[in-house]
């Protein structure tokens, strides 16, 4: 399972010109726009739009790639849900079901060297960053081969090589961190970008305000992405946000912002590309991606707060189903090809689950290996049943 990404060697723009763009102008532009992702960023980042000029065959290949990856995330997540009910996976388990198009579109806009900070609903992002799915599932199983060696679980995946700088379980916790990572890039004059995803509920807490304010003040290379699925756990966005059209909040920080339909991977990729170009040129950006969460907040949530009508309507928003229909309607693939692809992916996902199940549990001897990076005297290595001092009178 691989994702096509722009190579790191593509032409890089000088950051200086766009950094000089007046923030107020960008802010006004953002406030006028409703759903268009293009205009505000064009002000800030006068980038070319190679994707639009792509040949039809390339567009076709891209669409098929997106579909393959979205279907892979779909089947992976469904397999994870099954493993959860089989008690192979513990704790919380939040799935990207319904967000597949948003995930692959967003990740398509990043270079392999760009950084991603995300929240606890993250398996799909780890997959789309090209991390070995065996290791992602092994992390869910809490095994030694997991991306975080079994220390993190579903909510806390990390891989420095693939520049996934963490899933974070505390709502909003990742925003200041992502802002700081962008600060470090800017401090060193690098041209990497940080993308930071969150749910719409996150935009009501202080860390959102503080981070966007700092990012804009210091012109940091960061894109804040709000996945708006219109629900907290069960609370509708209108009940939690005084401004339910989240992208409009960018105006408060004079930050360019846009809203895009998260069911369309191509639209998401294009909007994300504009946002990332803007950030790379020194103008942070707020991108709202609307999605529909197909299931409950987490695996154990039956989503009883949804009316039967809402449940029925959800089916219309299934991005994987819709893209399959589009591929067939446009003659880009036939039913048999898609069915064959599904079989291949289902088989692969079974291998992944088998790998996770076979991976060893972390050795208890490693329990004290990751408290401190710099070893320090008098660091306790006492297990719960042991006294504070051993039989020789040494503290433990």
């Amino acid at each position: 399972m691989t994702t096509k990404k722009p190579t790191a060697g593509t032409a890089r723009k000088a950051a200086a010109p766009a950094r000089a763009v007046k923030a107020s102008a960008a802010g006004k532009t953002a406030a006028k726009k409703t759903v268009a992702a293009k205009a505000p960023a064009k002000k800030a980042a006068p980038a070319k739009a190679p994707a639009k000029k792509a040949a039809p065959t390339k567009a076709k290949a891209q669409l098929l790639d997106f579909y393959r990856e979205m279907l892979f995330i779909r089947r992976f997540e469904e397999r994870a849900a099954r493993a959860y009910t089989q008690a192979f996976i513990g704790g919380y388990c939040h799935l990207n079901l319904g967000e597949e198009a948003a995930v692959v579109g967003l990740m398509d806009a990043l270079r392999p060297t760009d950084y991603l900070f995300t929240n606890y609903r993250e398996h799909g992002y780890a997959i789309a960053r090209n991390i070995d799915p065996n290791r992602i599932m092994a992390e869910l199983y809490g095994r030694a081969d997991g991306v975080s060696k079994g220390w993190g679980g579903s909510m806390h995946m990390f891989d420095m090589d693939h520049r996934l700088l963490g899933g974070y379980g505390i709502v909003g916790g990742q925003l200041p961190l992502a802002t700081g990572a962008a600060l470090a890039i800017d401090y060193r004059g690098g041209d990497d970008v940080v993308m930071c995803t969150m749910g719409e509920g996150t935009t009501n807490i202080g860390a959102f305000h503080e981070s966007l304010n700092i990012a804009e003040l210091w012109k940091l290379p960061v894109v804040f992405v709000v996945i708006n699925n219109f629900l907290g756990m069960g609370t509708k966005v209108e009940k939690s946000s005084a401004e339910p059209e989240i992208y409009r909040r960018g105006a408060a920080y004079r930050m360019p912002a846009a809203r895009v339909d998260g069911a369309d991977p191509v639209a998401v990729a294009e909007a994300a590309r504009i946002a990332v170009e803007s950030a790379r040129a020194g103008q942070p950006y707020l991108l709202e991606v609307t999605c529909h969460r197909l299931r409950g907040h987490s695996v154990v949530d039956p989503a009883k707060y949804r009316t039967p009508e809402e449940v029925e309507e959800l089916k219309l928003h299934d991005p994987v189903h819709n893209l399959a229909a589009q591929l067939v309607a446009q003659g880009l693939a036939d039913e048999a090809t898609l069915a064959h692809l599904d079989e291949q992916i289902l088989a692969r996902v079974e291998e992944i689950a088998a790998f996770a199940e076979a991976s060893p549990h972390p050795d208890v001897a490693t329990l004290f290996d990751y408290t401190y990076a710099t070893p320090v005297p008098n660091d306790s290595r006492r297990l719960p049943g042991q006294p504070l001092f051993d039989e020789n009178g040494n503290a433990q």
């Binding site: 220390w151 420095m160 961190l177 320090v376 001092f389 503290a395």
Partner: protein
């Protein structure tokens, strides 16, 4: 050695570390143009520029978290929180993020950062600006918490904290900034996690940290003159990790201990020290471990009330006398006794 204030030692150490390592940068409220609420960063903006000395918005969660994120990518930010009271606004980033990132991701990302912040009461700053809540951070594995009491230790521990690859909460104290002492001219980082015996003795072990380590040493010196008491003083220096063995070694020698602290007694640092002594030196103890700590009230503003709430030098001296009396230790005004 150079005689200088605690404030000067901090300032000079920040400056020399910035000269040594360009990854060291400062962030905080009013540390640049205003030169810091307590002037620790005076002159550093002019010398190093806005890139390395960043005035932040009043957004403790935001800029503390940004420092953590920058540290994950290899910078060595030194954050100034104006007082430890304001750290509560950043506590999610400190406890849920700085302390967790190394372990939670299986050792893949280090967080080499320092949070400098003063505690301390006695300045008539009232309930929300007089707290000593370092305990909240000393409670958390993954953080290191240090608390120097002298200018020399301020330098040595700040060097160690900046060069350490883990998040370190560096506790200062408002009442210590103007205290003076000899500071070595060369750079020798302290070892985080080690306590210091600042005065050797065999009659009683007196334990403190930060301002109270300073007060404890002063009282012990005074009682040596006035009462011919030979008190051993331990400056904890590091609250996490806690150097339990140095405490135990001392109590095995003296058989009694008094712990002094500016924070509240219940669940406090002194409680942890007392429990340590109970666990590690029970057979050697001749008296219960006595704790001298702040009254269990929000700090009042009025001077009379504030003074009553804070432990005084006389409170500590009386606790020492009572402990020695309890073990039948005759005090003498005329000469040393055993």
């Amino acid at each position: 050695m150079t005689l200088m204030s605690y404030r000067q030692a901090l300032h000079d150490t920040l400056r020399s570390e910035m000269l040594r390592d360009e990854n060291v940068m400062l962030m905080g409220e009013e540390i640049g143009v205003f030169e810091g609420s307590y002037k620790i960063t005076a002159g550093l903006l002019a010398e190093f520029g806005e890139k390395r000395v960043r005035d932040t918005p009043i957004a403790e969660e935001g800029f503390t978290g940004a420092a953590i994120g920058a540290a994950m990518l290899g910078l060595r930010p030194v954050v100034e929180l104006m007082t430890i009271n304001f750290s509560l606004i950043a506590i999610d980033q400190i406890v849920n993020h700085a302390a967790k990132i190394y372990g939670m991701f299986g050792g893949q990302a280090k967080v080499p950062m320092v949070i400098r912040t003063p505690g301390g009461g006695g300045q008539q700053l009232g309930a929300t600006h007089s707290q000593n809540i370092e305990l909240y951070y000393a409670f958390v594995p993954g953080l290191k918490v240090v608390a120097p009491s002298t200018p020399a230790d301020a330098k040595a521990l700040l060097l160690a904290a900046i060069r350490d690859d883990d998040p370190v909460l560096f506790l200062e104290n408002l009442a210590l900034y103007n205290t003076k002492g000899e500071v070595p001219d060369h750079d020798e980082p302290a070892i985080i996690g080690k306590a210091k015996v600042t005065r050797e003795g065999h009659h009683l072990t007196l334990i403190g940290y930060s301002r109270m380590a300073y007060v404890a040493k002063k009282i012990a010196d005074q009682l040596a003159d006035t009462d011919h008491l030979d008190i051993e003083v331990i400056d904890l220096c590091s609250l996490r990790p806690l150097d339990r063995e140095t405490i135990i070694e001392s109590v095995k020698k003296t058989s009694c201990a008094v712990v002094v602290e500016d924070d509240w007694l219940t669940y406090g640092i002194g409680a942890e020290v007392a429990a340590t002594i109970s666990d590690g030196a029970f057979d050697y103890l001749d008296a219960p471990v006595r704790r001298v700590a702040m009254a269990e009230v929000p700090m009042p503003y009025a001077k009379s009330l504030e003074t009553a709430a804070l432990p005084s030098e006389d409170d500590i001296i009386q606790a020492i006398y009572q402990t020695l009396d309890a073990i039948g230790h005759r005090r003498s005004k005329t000469g040393p006794h055993d």
